[in-house]
Amino acid sequence: MPTMNMLQAINNALDIAMAEDDKVLCFGEDVGGFGGVFRATSHLQEKYGRSRCFNTPLVEQGIIGFANGLAAQGSVPVAEIQFADYIYPAFDQIVNETAKFRYRSGDLFNVGGLTIRAPYGGGIAGGHYHSQSPEAYFAHTPGLKVVVPRDPYQAKGLLLASIRDADPVIFFEPKRLYRASTGEVPEEDYQLPIGEAEVTREGADVTLVGWGAQMEVIERAVELAEKEGISCEVIDLRTILPWDEDSVVESVLKTGRLLITHEAPLTGGFAAEIAATVQERCFLYLESPIARVTGLDTPFPLTLEKEYLPDHLKIFEAIKASLAF
């Protein structure tokens, strides 16, 4: 099985999807001949032509508006927003249009073919505008699916599933891992399920929930915890919306403790939603308060990025505090 980094896995997934179905189109800023600023769409224009893989003008609301129309027409657009930080001009098209297309028309029309790819997250010295994790904004919008992969294998399988899913998907790619994360990825076509979390490590004392780049950070914290004799269960949520409540609840019923971590700010972050649901469904089983290890309630900083980020040490301390409660 070949080894790929996450960009290669994403490129490979797009290649498979475009080869299989003429209706699949990839576009966005610098996506065409250049292959994207991160090179996720490398060589796709050469292989599939300028009409199926192309640059757009620099206008995010236009990219998603255009993509909505294409999807309604029956095409399968994979639109790239160059950085998740720049998705906001398209917020209206995504929240008012993409998300409501099927519902408002009584299923006469839908944009289920649409996938929006956007690199997200910090740790690359990107400051305010190349570091944000906006998943919680979109998690508040019924009609969207929000998917975040943690490694190359997951990225390929989840992206192929997103492209073929009957509903529109926002696919947030952890750009810090684009080249840093490598692993074995099958050459052939495969899909991983949307809406299902994955238990990546079984344990007894505490449940740790995260997604995307944070999964690697959790693993480092777990190594420290296990050395102190704490048994951790780790869950990669993978899909933020609609999220897999049952898997998380089942785990917390077993461990009695829950820690959720994300890079985005604390207030209104998706951890809050998970915490609210888990306390409803596991109230009498909880041994300690549900812990949230997240970014601070500030814009994403630059020089003090390391201090801001919810790293393995902060998670390790929160694990110990949960056990000692």
Partner: protein
């Protein structure tokens, strides 16, 4: 691409170099302008167009009255703009896509949307294609290639560019027309859409209904330029300004635009100069921002009257037919309205379907909780209770109002 020559003094251009004329064929008395040539239009097609315009006018008048009587929560009229909307639609292939803003019911009328279909949407009953989820006038029809209306302004414009790009790749010779007002043309989506269409050579017709007002804001406070049309130069796009109350000019211009779009992948901007004779919506009162005198002046330019005179002159229509037609349409509107009003609302389960292709487990749990609650207080939720227990009789829901 930029092509330019050098100058050696700072000479600014202000755009006044461009002057955009208005294409007109038909005078208000129903005769052609000197030198004007009417487009080829059969008697049958001309009557079809006129009938759609009259039916739209009748529907609008009756439904606004129904709204005033409290039968309907909200309404919007096409009044004064029927020639622009119906004329443009008639110039298309019936399989071309229409993406409308919200005031284009004339397009649906032309394509054969029945009064029953209009009414079912207006009353949000169990037969509404939109399943009672959107305010009145948010029609949609897959079979008539009419995209379901969405309230946010201008969002449909870049969607039209995308839809038409898909049509171009499909290679079946279809195009998309997108309607919007001169106010919506101030939204960023407008600029995004026209630029992308020009860059990617997309078969789309951008049809601006410049009706003078965005709710209360006159166009003079909407833009400093000579209307919307000059913007096409900035995108290097074909553009024509047309008298929007002149059915022949609208039809002719749109037919030519369709050839450019569908046959040559050249997007086109059409600016139709017209006037919103009615209020913005049932929630608006124009007396607060414009004069009766101004309205009267435009009433004399009524597009229906102009077309009717032309048809009469050709011997294709008579006053007797007009009377008979109006009476018949009014009767049909009343009958279908009564029918639609009596129909039950959509079932409670439709609250959670179509959010996703399949109802998610979490949403199913929310619905189950809601059902338990409604069974406890059925009188407080008569519509929902009806579908849980069909024996519960529907209550008068005239208090169900709202609007923008």
């Amino acid at each position: 691409m930029t092509t330019t020559t050098d100058i050696h003094s700072p000479d600014f251009l202000a755009g006044d170099e461009f002057s955009i004329p208005t294409f007109r064929l038909l005078q208000q008395d129903g005769t052609l302008f000197d030198g004007a040539v009417a487009p080829e239009l059969s008697r049958e097609e001309a009557r079809h167009i006129y009938h759609a315009m009259v039916a739209t006018r009748v529907l609008d008048e009756r439904m606004m009255a129904a709204q005033r009587q409290g039968r309907l929560s909200f309404y919007m009229q096409c009044t004064g703009e029927e020639a622009a909307v119906v004329g443009a639609t008639a110039a298309l292939d019936d399989a071309d896509m229409i993406m409308a803003q919200y005031r284009e019911q004339g397009a649906l009328m032309y394509r054969g949307f029945s009064f029953d279909e209009f009414m079912n949407q207006l009353f949000g009953n169990e037969l509404d294609y939109g399943k009672g989820r959107q305010m009145p006038i948010h029609y949609g029809s897959r079979k008539l290639h009419y995209m379901t209306i969405s309230s946010p302004l201008a969002t449909q414009i870049p969607q039209a560019t995308g839809f038409a790009y898909g049509q171009k790749l499909a290679g079946e010779g279809q195009c998309t027309i997108v309607f919007f007002g001169e106010g919506a043309a101030s939204e960023g989506d407008f600029h995004a859409a026209l630029n992308m269409a020009a860059v990617h050579q997309v078969p789309v017709i951008f049809f601006c209904r410049n009706n003078g007002y965005a709710i209360s804001t006159p166009s003079i406070e909407q833009f400093a330029a000579d209307g919307v049309a000059p913007r096409a130069f900035g995108y290097r796009m074909h553009v024509i300004r047309v008298d929007g109350n002149d059915i022949l000019a609208v039809y002719d211009a749109t037919r030519a635009a369709r050839r450019l779009a569908a046959e040559h992948n050249q997007p086109v901007l059409i600016e139709a100069m017209t006037y919103r004779l009615a209020a913005h919506s049932s929630s608006d009162d124009p007396s607060g921002y414009r004069s009766k005198k101004e309205e009267e002046a435009w009433r004399e330019k009524d597009p229906l009257l102009r077309m009717r005179r032309w048809l009469n002159d050709k011997g294709w229509w008579s006053d007797e037919e007009e009377t008979e037609c109006q009476e018949r349409l009014r009767r049909e509107v009343l009958e279908t309205m009564k029918r639609a009003q009596k129909r039950p609302p959509p079932p409670l389960d439709s609250l959670v379907t179509d959010v996703y292709a399949d109802v998610t487990p979490a949403l199913q749990r929310q619905l189950d909780t809601l059902k338990t609650h409604i069974r406890r207080y059925p009188d407080a939720y008569p519509k929902g209770a009806m579908s849980l227990d069909p024996d519960v009789s529907p209550r008068d829901d005239a208090d169900d109002k709202g609007g923008a």
